[in-house]
Amino acid sequence: MELLAFGDTGWGDELFYATLMTIAVSITAMIIGFSFAAIFTPLKLSKNILLNFLANSYTTVIRGVPELLVIYLFFFGGTGAVMYVASIFGYNKYIEINAFITGAFAIGIISGAYSTEVFRGAVQSIDKGQFEAAKVLGLSKFTQFFKIILPQVLRLAIPNLSNVWQITLKDTSLISVTGLVEIMRQSYIAAGSTRDPLFFYSFAAVLYLMLTYFSMKLINKLEIKYSRGY
């Protein structure tokens, strides 16, 4: 227990901030994932072969390649890519990208591929009549989407999105290889300096279990909220 004391003598506060970091990265990654899903779900459902191919390659490649490899690509390639783009605009100095941004982006792209599949499935399982009825009622495209289609999509998608959230949360442990101080990295540091890896990695496991447990509780509430009326 002394090992977990707050302040200079223990690792309690460090691990607390690391947990906040894990939550922050997971949420940021999830939001980035949703933005990717917002772009790629319509492409996946579109009838244009080229757009369809583009969206399919995104989800297939990301879901078929290990997360760690994607993270290495971003970690080693991210700086180069940003500097290349900057050099086109005439900026030639060295640019250092923050580990948080690289990590959240890498995990976000992965999470986006899973979200895209979830949203595609949800949109496809909505009755065709709903689209037609909305059209017949003369609602604007905007209202059709936000008031008729989206609430139904959310109801169907939330159970699967909670799986995506779990995957995303657990994937953030991989960002520790880039040096971002989240739960895994902090446990690694603590285990190294106290020579007590068994305790710190087990404690990390407990932290992750707590995060998954409480987020599931929260998501269940959302699920009930969106399925009212059924």
Partner: protein
């Protein structure tokens, strides 16, 4: 784009892919046995056995695989007692530590897949077997297991692919699998995109093969054929 690097690194990565496949197949076999055992325990009526099996699958599914590998590889070596037993021969090898972690992890997911497959078997099918005078043992082996296998194939196929991606974490405990070698080449040449294309291509190829084998099996075992 450095084509020459892509060509020279291809055989190295292909060799490493063999290690990935070895890790995958060994952990899948052990994991399947663990999964079957715990699925049966989950269906047991004794509440303690039941809760124990649930706890196992909850813990392994709720924590990242990386934590599990680190606990086994870095953590268990800390227990003095373990160092004096024969188990230490296994636990000091990163290769076996990775396999133990993978097998326990995939075992947890597999037990959930098999449990739900067993539960979706209609009671009428078992009753039909009983009324024909077939012994409970034969009903289990000849009726319940084949139906459960058929039911769980699609989900298990996904699990195999997830596990194949999971083996990439072996590279964090010094094993030079496909991801490990890819990382080594990236960090010595600083050409991440080229290496990613080759290594990712090999992974995608393996995913493609697994996907199609499962599809073939699903067709073979489907009720309609």
């Amino acid at each position: 784009m450095d084509l020459e690097l892509m060509i020279t690194s291809f055989p190295k990565l292909l060799n490493a892919a063999a290690i990935t496949l070895k890790l995958l197949s060994v952990s899948l076999i052990i994991g399947l046995l663990i999964g079957l055992l715990f699925a049966i325990l989950r269906l047991n009526e004794n509440i303690f056995i039941n809760k124990f099996a649930y706890g196992y699958s909850y813990i392994f599914r709720g924590t990242p695989l990386l934590v599990q590998i680190f606990i086994i590889y870095f953590g268990l070596g800390q227990i003095e007692y373990l160092r004096s037993t024969f188990l230490w021969v296994i636990l000091k090898e990163p290769y076996w530590c990775a396999i133990i972690a993978f097998a326990l992890n995939t075992g947890a997911y597999t037990s959930e897949i098999l449990r739900s497959a067993f539960q979706t078997i209609k009671p009428g099918i078992i009753e039909a077997g009983q009324s024909l005078g077939i012994s409970n043992k034969i009903i289990f082996y000849k009726i319940q297991i084949p139906i459960a296998i058929r039911q769980s194939l699609p989900a298990y196929g996904n699990e195999i692919i997830l596990m194949m991606k999971g083996t990439s974490l072996a590279s964090t405990v010094t094993i030079m699998d496909l991801t490990g070698v890819a990382k080594y080449i990236i960090s010595t040449t600083f050409k991440p995109i080229e290496v990613f294309i080759v290594a990712g291509g090999i992974y995608l190829f393996m995913t493609f093969i697994i996907h199609n084998v499962i599809k073939f099996l699903e067709k073979k075992y489907s009720f309609n054929s």
